[in-house]
Amino acid sequence: MRNYRRFIKVTGIVQGVGFRPFVYRIALEENLKGWVNNTAVGVRIEVEGNLENLEAFQRKLTEEAPPLSKVEEVIVENLPYFGYDSFNIEKSHGKEEVLTLISPDVSICAQCEEEIKNADNHRYGYPFTNCTNCGPRFSIIQQLPYDREMTTMKKFPMCDKCKEEYKNPLDRRFHAQPNACPDCGPRMWLTDQRGNPIDTQDPMEELYRRLKAGAIVGVKGLGGFQLVCDGKNPAAVQKLRTRKRRPWKPFALMMRDLKTLRAYCHVNEKEEEILTGIQKPILLLDKKNEGLPESIAPGQKRLGIMLPYTPLHHLLFHGSLEVLIMTSGNISGLPIEYKNEEAIDHLGEIVDCFLLHDREIHIPVDDSVSRVVLGKERLIRRSRGYAPIPIKIEGIEETLACGSHLKNTFCISKKDMAFFGQHIGDLENLETYQHFQACVDHFKSVYGIQPHIIAHDLHPEYLSTVYAEKETGDKVAIQHHHAHIASCMAEHGIHEPVIGIAYDGTGYGTDGKIWGGEFLICDYEGFQRVGHLNYMRMPGGETAVKEPWRMAASQLYALRGEALELPLSMEVSEEEKTNIIQVLKHQLNCPETSSMGRLFDSVAGLLGICKTITYEAQGAIELEGISNLSESIPYSYQLEILDEAYVVNTRPIIEEIIQDIEKGVEASRIAGRFHETVIRFTIELCCKIYEKYGISKIVLSGGVFQNEILLKEVYYRLTEKDFQVYMHEQIPCNDGGIALGQLVIANRRIKKGDNKSCV
């Protein structure tokens, strides 16, 4: 039979995921000769053999690829027969023009878990156990190609045993770059809050004793520090709240296993799949009972829970511990800590002791937050396990999109790949801003990207805008809500104009006002604002965001003027009332907003649910939480037309809510009717816009769509009316998702030769 020789190039996530041993194995299976190697461009293969085997090999290459790999492209060339006498795995090559994808960090696999739990295994109880199918990647990679020398594992020379595994193509640890064992790998130790080692025979036993006694522990995890305490110990939870100065914001939990989790929460099939998958986000689940301390997530119907994703986590669930609080190790508003000394410096006051290790984290990554709505996973915070998986978008050039001010995530692209960075945080502080700069620099260097298009928000005072101004390249300023909608369009590959509904907190509008309740007809180039909420005054600017009672007062002032009466439920003092009237009367620092978030705040404020917030959107979240939906009579509203746009006049809603409050109607019913009202006018407005413009594709975006009642009902009722409705899945609907939209819009504008900011 005739022999042929073929050269095959495979690109995508093909490094550090066991791709070469897989190639080796299928080459042996098909009796082929040749070689495979790893380059910065991807995996290169030469195979020789008969046609039938070659075809089978090529089929297996894509069909049976290892679970963590993601094949983007396979290029095949025919070459003259050479006559290799064996199949070999060759050494990695560097240099060439780069675009290899980096794998996210991967949750521990079943086999590794078994090893650390098996007393007879060499890796029993070893917290840094990993293999080709699992373990750290993104967080430890300093440069490409992905090789131990280019990771923070460089400083741990492998022992002979590990080296053998590493070299054996048929071993699970063949070329597992972070491979390590108790003899040669990183170490873990316990310290007091100042970083002095605690002398103990068995650190895990000692840690267990302390956790049971209510200690707060700073644990250096995979992508950064986590603050850990016993979730069943209310005193410990309260202590953590006090020390972290975090009175209400829910804490995330880690539970021993799925069985434990099911005791407290409802879990459907899709949720189970996510909980036990390789990405292991914090998943928001409906509570089944009140079996855990209320202080974990005060006033919430849901809990954010993840399952252990590193060997270290599994080891924490010692003895009777089965529920741990596991929240980011940072000072409120600052980035997650990821270096031992700095963590000791910054978190020493919060924790009672530290569990440290000496495997350095090169790039910190927070836990991701996700949930399932309408049968699909919908990310709220896209970070560990997901970053830096790229989103493929045709025709984009090297671009940096700087993202938003709060919950910043940036996006940077090269050759049709948009790399979405990990969650950075709120750009209010120098520390977070520097973290942002460092991460952008890392992405530029690791992927070899020199962006020549710089996209940023229209808001002149976002720090991400300030950063963009200092970069070189074509700058494109993009309206916040256009970016929200475009981001969802890009996620679904939509190319025709849509009706975009952006229900959001705050975004700078083209009229210099604050937008956030917007109906935009848009494509990637531009938008037309065809509808929005009526403008409301925000007395005290940003302070009105932090104090929902101010929005309530503003609404009342708009209706009643100085003679307004504040409902008792608002718990506002006479002095506060006099002062807020003065502020509104003289319009001192009272910007106008059309924000849906502020409308929710107004109602939360009127009902006295939340006078002052302690975490973002607390008012709206609690309003959703108490809603009783049994009554579906909406409040009155009017659709008016102003400058060719529909304006939803929401004042009658407020008027009727005040009447209800005066009549003594329960807050839960008012909240329910308010939701119903928002849903009704949303649908009605869509129908009107459809009649006028003939567009039936609807895209929902903006942080307010984290409200499940709203998202579901708007989806159901629009679908019933034959609209095609698109919602976010892998990209957050909140500001953590706008960078993708910015990136796509900026590319389109530059290509059209129009970078004059907005429409």
Partner: protein
Amino acid sequence: MDYITLAHGSGGKASHQLIEGLFYKHFQNDILLQGNDASILPKFSGRIAVSTDSFVIHPIFFPGGDIGKLSVYGTVNDLAMSGAKPLYITLAFIIEEGFSMGDLEKIVASIGEAAKEAGVKIVAGDTKVVESGSVDQIYINTTGIGILPEDIDIGGQNAKAGDKIIISGTIGDHGTAIMALRKGFEFSIDLESDCGLLSGMIHEILHTGAKVKVLRDPTRGGLATTLNEISKQSNVGLLLEEAAVPVKHEVRSMCEILGLDPIYIANEGKLVVIVAEEDAEAVLGVMKSHPMGKDAAIIGTVVHSPQGQVYVKTEIGGTRILQMPVGELLPRIC
């Protein structure tokens, strides 16, 4: 006569009455009495500092001062900021027809007193009266001339890493007082402008021989704006301690109600001093013993990097970036 009329600005008889009956009465000095088109000043030796400013404040009388006093202090303070000894000022009024003569006399008297206090002579002046509605009551322009000692080099470009930043007292007093009045706030809060003369205290500071790098009065745009300018001129970072910045309780309350940050609010009698670290305590001591600096405090340090920006170490442990305001402060948070 009770009101100012267009005739008062015409150069005729009414003008002369105004000059002789009012201005000479309050500003009398040998140079002004020369009475010619231009005043001739004696010979200077050394470098001359010049500064000019126009004052268009509303309301013109406010707790802690009035437009007259402010127009002298403002220009004299600006001269003093360069290290100069203020000597002379000129004065130009633009007055709205119908303005009360009594109020004008109050303002003129206040100017006379302020000039005396500052040790400057008013050496030239002008008065225009314009039709009702063309200006808001009264506008005043002053130009000051001072003399600069030989060895003085003070300027926004001189800050070096390690230097200390001192503020002479509580911030935001003037801006909040004016806002409360102008907007007719019915507040129980007592607010008073800090409108005051800084040249005396500066003289004493310079007399210590300390290495003073920068002197600035954080007027419009407040402390944040002034420090941002310095950070860019000197290409350094300025790091403040939030807790160290003195703010009056009343000012803080007013700012909380309005959602404003006192650090962005105007002052009219405050001084920022940037001085070599080793001289900081001595300078602070001198300031504290001067009536204009009794609440003085060291509020921060000059750092190498990041350059061109101002930071505040917050009480919870973060470092807030204090941006140069881009006009109206618009909400960024969701």
